[in-house]
């Protein structure tokens, strides 16, 4: 055992600003921007996979599966080594966006499949164009089913951000570990990081619940 108490308030106050700095400059930025990218890109992928010619859709599926089934750290490192003129933070945002878009695409696919065939048929019966059918009818209905999953993935993206350190972006957890490494005190940093995660992810899931209710068709 050490001479030190298990919990030190000095260390707490010393590490907290570092954590918050990491949180706001990396964790939050990446999570928010990448979620937006993933939400949009995922939808595009889902639409391509549903409406593109077979060989293109199949090739797309293979790529999407590859991205989805391999660890994000390795993808980060690969992109970081390949695009040396792009900053780590930008690479992080893009790779997180792409990686999670492959998950989102699955969610959208399910959402699109859940739109009853009768809706498509009604669009044909009204001579609506393909584009208008997607934009006016199918996507709005598919989105409703997608919101909870989007929230889930935002939260898990949030927790994947420590991987960013491998491309030299120090977010909250790594900032905490760095402090721990130089002071040999990890308990405060890790506990606080956990609490900040909780403080940020719980409101996110509440928000998602609210959004889900608002998207229900009745007003």
């Amino acid at each position: 055992m050490t001479d030190q108490p298990i919990w030190s308030w000095d260390a707490t106050w010393e590490v907290l600003p570092k954590l918050l700095h990491g949180f706001f400059t990396a964790t939050l930025v990446v999570t928010v921007v990448s979620t937006i990218i993933a939400a949009i890109l995922g939808l595009i992928i889902a639409i391509i996979r549903r409406s593109a010619p077979k060989p293109i859709a199949a090739a797309f599926t293979l790529i999407v599966n590859f991205i989805r089934m391999t660890p994000i750290v390795m993808q980060l490192l690969f992109a970081y080594a390949a695009f040396t003129s792009v900053s780590g933070l930008t690479i992080g945002i893009i790779i997180f966006g792409i990686h999670y878009s492959t998950y989102m695409a699955e969610v959208y696919r399910a959402g699109i499949e859940a739109v009853p065939p009768g809706q498509w048929e009604a669009c044909t019966a009204l001579s609506m164009s393909r584009a208008r059918t997607w934009v006016g009818v199918v996507i709005p209905q598919a989105l409703r089913a997608t919101v909870p999953a989007l929230g889930n993935y935002a939260i898990s993206m949030f927790k994947d951000t420590p991987f960013l350190v491998s491309i030299s972006v120090v977010e909250m957890v790594q900032a905490g570990l760095a402090y721990g490494g130089s002071h040999f005190r990890y308990t405060e940093a890790i506990t606080l990081a956990g609490l900040i995660f909780l403080a940020a992810s719980y409101p996110t899931s509440l928000l998602v619940n609210r959004l889900e209710k608002r998207l229900a068709y009745t007003t």
Binding site: M1, T2, D3, Q4, A81, T84, G88, V165, S166, S168, V170, Q174, L177, A178, Y179, G180, G181, S182, H183, F184, R185, Y186
Partner: protein
């Protein structure tokens, strides 16, 4: 590698740890793949501190040195949680750290160096020259000691890398102009990666506000294991750090030079007190 955590050591009295280790004839040390101090290659533990420890612990009647290779950030928590009995990674002796764990007598004097592109296009020599140049993209190790040096000297850090390999990659592919780290590590890497297109500057000791940043590293034990520490120090002083010849015979082949042998006036006590002026 070996999966499950070591079940060695304990939080009990210091008497029992040393006795137990002798009894068992095996000590488990934590390492973090820091070359050339300690690493595992093809299942075999290698490195300067490993070589030292094999020799010292054998003298203490502990024939086997088992290694547990972990992430750098898991070394201290692992030690204190009893997952291993000592840290064999040439850890720097710093005041904050001394509060958390017990450092042996100094084993390695640290000097700093910069890794730069082959040919040193920006003509960098030390951190001062980095500061003077102004627009140098400097990389440091996350949580490394150079991070603190650079910050105190007011140098802007362009990126913080996860490990030394990433630092070398950054210099090699142009993301960074220089990577500051301990000279021993950088030299070793530059030598073993001739294709990377990098070279190192001559070693220097960082100077902040006129004070030389003397740094030394040593083996780390739990605070409770006082007897273990005492006996270790005794044998360390007798067989390794007593003369340049003894020192280099053990660690020379890892790129260590006589500059790395700690002089007598540099003590763990002084380093832990943090008063570098005493050590100038």
């Amino acid at each position: 590698g070996c999966g499950s955590g070591g079940d060695s050591g304990s939080n009990g009295s210091d008497e029992s740890t040393l006795a137990k280790l002798k009894d068992k004839g095996t000590i488990t040390v934590g390492i973090a793949d820091e070359r050339p101090y300690s690493w595992v290659e093809n299942g075999e533990a290698k490195g300067a501190t490993i070589a030292m420890h094999k020799k010292i612990f054998k003298k203490m009647g502990i024939d086997n040195v088992k290694v547990e290779e972990v992430d750098w950030n898991s070394l201290i928590p692992g030690l204190n949680a009893g997952r291993f009995d000592a840290i064999s990674a040439g850890m720097s002796i710093l005041p904050d750290r001394c509060k958390q764990a017990a450092f042996s007598d100094p084993e390695i004097m640290y000097t700093t160096s910069l890794m730069v592109k082959k040919g040193n296009p920006m003509n960098l020599t030390d951190l001062k020259s980095v500061k003077k140049k102004g627009d140098v993209k400097l990389a440091v190790l996350n949580g490394g000691i150079e991070d603190g040096y650079a910050k105190k000297m007011g140098i802007k850090i362009s990126q913080t890398v996860k490990d030394s390999q990433s630092g070398m990659d950054a210099v090699s592919n142009g993301r960074a102009d220089a990577f500051a780290m301990t000279a021993i590590s950088l030299n070793w890497m530059a030598k073993n990666n001739p294709d990377a297109g990098v070279t190192t500057t001559p070693a220097f000791t960082a100077v902040i506000k006129g004070v030389k940043q003397v740094g030394a590293g040593s083996t780390v034990f739990r605070k409770d294991d006082k007897k273990l520490l005492k006996e270790y120090n005794k044998i360390l002083g007798n067989t390794i750090t007593d003369s340049t010849k003894d020192y280099l015979s053990v660690v020379g082949k890892y790129g260590f030079t006589k500059e790395n042998l700690p002089p007598k006036n540099v003590t763990t006590k002084k380093l832990c007190a943090g008063n570098l002026k005493d050590l100038q």
